[in-house]
Amino acid sequence: MTQTDTAVQLDAITKRFPGVLANDDVDLAVERGSVHALLGENGAGKTTLMNVLYGLYQPDGGRVVVDGQPREFDSPRDAIDAGVGMIHQHFMLVDTMTVAENIALGNEPRKWGGLAVDSEATRREVVELSERYGFGVDPDQTIADASVGVQQRVEILKALYRGADVLILDEPTAVLTPQEVEDLFEVLDELTDQGKTVIFITHKLGEAMHAADDITVLRDGKNVATVDADDTTREELAELMVGREVMLEVESRATDVGDVVLDVDSLSVLDDREVPAVTDVSFAVREGEVFGIAGVDGNGQAELVEAITGLRDPETGEVAFDGRSVTDDSRRDRIEDGMAYIPEDRQERGLVMDFDLVENAILGSQHSPSFSSRGAIDWQQSREHAESVVDEYDVRPGNPDARAVSLSGGNQQKFIVGREFERDPRLVVATHPTRGVDIGSQEFIHDRLLELRDEGRGILLVSSKLDEVQGLSDRLAVMHDGDLMAVVDPDDVTEEELGLLMAGEYPEGYEPRDERDAVEVPQ
C-alpha cells in the first residue's frame, strides 16, 4: 500500500435517487491523520456521500480513490478490506454479548483447527487494541450494561479491529451527553495522533469547529466549501450551511396588524429521545403579520412547530390560539379552529403517498362539513377542490387522479401548500414552504403567503433559507439550541448579525431583548 498524504479522495461523485439529486458532482479530499468534518443541514447529502465511500451505494458518476488507488466498492466488505470503516448512528451490536465478543464478531481468532472461537485470544487482542488507543473499555462488560458512549467506542474498536485506517462517524454526537462528547473528541485526537484518519458527519457547527482540522460544508448535495477549521468563523459556517440562493427583493411589509392570533408562552418541548429540544420559548403572532423563525435546522424548530400544531405534547408552557388555550386540544380541534400547517416532512406527514390527489386534497378536512355530511365524504366536492389546487398552484402532472407518490418532490410540496393555504385559515404555520420548489413557483407561493397576510391571517414562517425569512417576515426570530436568541426587525438586521445569532452568539454591543415589547410593529 503506497502512503500518500491524501487518505481518501472523492472525485465528482454524483448520486441520484428517484426525485432527488443527493450528491451533485461532489469533490472531497481528506488528509491522512486529520479529522475532517462534513457539515450540512439535514438532507444536504452528507450521509449519502459517506455511504458511497463505504460501498453501501454505488455512485452514478465520479470515482473513489483510497490511498491513491481508484476503487470500486460493491459492498461495505470491499470498503473494509480497503481500510475504510463506518460507524453508523444506530449501533449494530449484540446486546447479550460482551464487548470483546462484539468487537471480534465474525473475525474471531480460532483454535482447534478453526473449530472453536479462541476467546482468550479474542480478549487479549481487544485489550491490547483498547489500550493502544486509550479507550479504556472493559472487555468483559455486556453491551446491554454499557453506556451509549462505551457502545460507540466498541463500534470504533470493531472498525479498528478489522483494520480500518479511515473511520467514518455518522452524527457521532447525536446520542451522547456533553461529557461523552468531550471524551469522544479525545478519542478522535488519539486516533489521528496514531495515523488514523477520521471523517465525521455533523450538522452542529460548534462541534465541527472544535474537533475538526478541516471542514467541508455540503448544501443541497453540493460541496459549497472546504475550509480550515482554524481560519473560519461560526458565522461563516452558518451562512455556508443555509446559503442564500436568489436574493429576494424585500417584499412589502405588514400594514394592518390586528390582534394576537397565536400566543406561545414559556413552551418547553422534548424531542423523540426525551432530550429538551425547546426550552422556555415565548412569542406571539398577530393577525396580518408574518412572524419568521430563522435558524440552522435541528435547533428545535421542528419540535416547536409540532407542539404548536398539536402533534407533540409540550413539557411545560401554554399555546393559545385566538385568545383561548389550546394546549390540551387535539390536532383535529386545532385544524377545525383554523390552523393550517405545511409540515417539514411532506412525504411522511403531508401526504398519504398511496392516495391520489383527490383523496389527499381532504387530508385534515375529512370530517369538515365542506367535504362530508353525516359521515359520508362528498368525493365530487373533493375532486373539484383537488382540481382547483392543482390548477392554481401549477401542480404537475395536472391530473387529480395521480397518486401522490408519482409526483416529484416539488410538486408534492406545491400541492400541500395549496391545500393548506386554501383552507381559509386563521393561522398558517409554514415550515420550509418552498423547499424543493422551482423558482417560479417559489415566487407564487411567496406572493400568495403575503396575500393571506394582507387578508388579516397570521403567518408563522419557519425556514432555514435566510433570504426567504428575511424577505417575507415582518418580525424575525432567530432560534438556536432550543431558544429564541432574539427577535429582530428584518429590515434593520445585517447578514453578519443574523449569522452570529444563528451560531448562538450575540453580536458585539447587542442587547438581548424581550421580544414582546422589543419590536415596533408598524400600525
Partner: protein, 429 residues
Amino acid sequence: MSLSQRARDAMGRLVRASGFERFLISASALLLSVLIGAVIVLGAGRMTSCGTAAYTLAFPGSFVTQFTGGDAIFAMGFCYDPIALYDLLFLGALGDILNDPTNGQFATTIAETTILLFTGVAVAVAFRAGIFNIGAQGQLVMGALVTGVVLVSVAPPLSGLGVFAAVVLLPLGLVLGAVAGGVYGAVPGALKAYADANEVITTIMLNFVATSIALFFVSREQFFKDPESFANQTVNLPDAAMFPELVFRARDDVSLLALGFGVAVLVGVWYLLRHTSFGYDLRTSGLQPDAAEYGGVDADRTIVSSMALSGALAGIGGAVYVMMVLGNFQPGVPSYGFDGITVSILAGNNPLGVGFAALLFGILKSGSIVVQVGSDVPPALVGVLRGLIILFVAMPEFFRMAGRKFGSFHQTGEQPVATDGGTGGGVDE
C-alpha cells in the same frame, strides 16, 4: 445483478402491479399450484401400492423389458390420476349443478363461503387499519356463544308467533353476535392503543380464552348445557330462530338469505372504507400513521374502533354459524376465523375481493370432501393440494403487503433512501 437486488426488484414490481396484473398473477399462481400438485399426486401414487394403477407406463423398448420379456412387474405405475383428482376437487364442489342446482354438495360450498365472507371481511378491515387481527376466531366464537345462549333463553316463548318471531329473532341474533364479537375485538384494540400491547400476541391469546369460556358455559348444566345430551352443547333453537333455507333443502344447513346478507355486508364495508370519513381515517392510519396524525386522526380511537368493527363482523359470522349451520351452540367451532386471515390476504384486503376469495375457499373445503368420498386418495394428500393452492395464490398478495409495509418500492428504479436526516427520500410507510 445480485440475488438480493433481483429479489428487491421483483418485490418492487409486485407492489406497483396494477389490478389486472394482480389478477393475472393470481391466475397463473393457481395454474402453477395445480401443476406442482399434479406432480406431487403422481409421485405419491408411485410410492404407494394399489390394485389398479390409474396410469401404467410400460417401457416396451427399455432394457428392463428386454430381460423380463415385457412383463408388467417392472412397469411404471401411478395409483392416482391427477386430472380426475382436480376434477373432483373443483367441479365436485358444485355437485350436479346443471340438473339439480340445489344439490347438497353445492349447498355445502355455499354454507362454507357464507361464514368465510364474514371472517374474511373482518380480518380485511383490521388489515386496512394496519392491525393484524389474528383473533377473528375468538371473536367468532364469542359471537356464536352469546347468540346461541341468549336465543335459546328468549326464543321459546316467542316461537309461537310464526313469521313474526323470525323477524324479531334473526336480527336480534345478528346484533348479539355483533356486540359480543365487537366487544371481544375492542379489548385487544384498547390494549394496543393504550397499553402498547402487540395485537398479534393478545389476539392469539384471546382465541384460547374464548374457546375456554365457551366450553365453561356449555359444559355445566347450571348454565347452558342441554341436560338431555351427552355432548357439551345447548338445547336446540326453535325453527323461528334459524335462517330460512329458501331454495335449498332444509337438511343442508344453508340459507340464501344469509348469503345475501353476507354479500350486503361486504358492499357495506366497502362503502364504509371508501366513502365515509371514518373509513378515510381508518385507511390513512393503515397506510401512513404519521400522515393520519397530521390529518387530525386520533390514532388510539381509530385502533379501538377498527378492532371493534373487525370483531363485530367476525361475531356476526359466529351468529350466522349458529343460526344457519348448528341450530344450537357447541364448542369446537371450525377454524373459520383463521381461514379468514388467508381469505383476506387472498383478496388483497379488499372487501369486494373477499367474496371471490371466500368462494374459492368454500369450493376447496367442499371439494375436499368429494375427493375423499369419491377416490382412494388419502385425506392428507388432499390437504396438501388445498394448502398448495392457497399458498400459491396468497403469496403474491402477501409479499405485496410485506413490501408495502417494510420496503419503499413506490418510485420506479432504485429503492429510495433517506438522504441524511431523511427530508429528501421517499420512505412513506
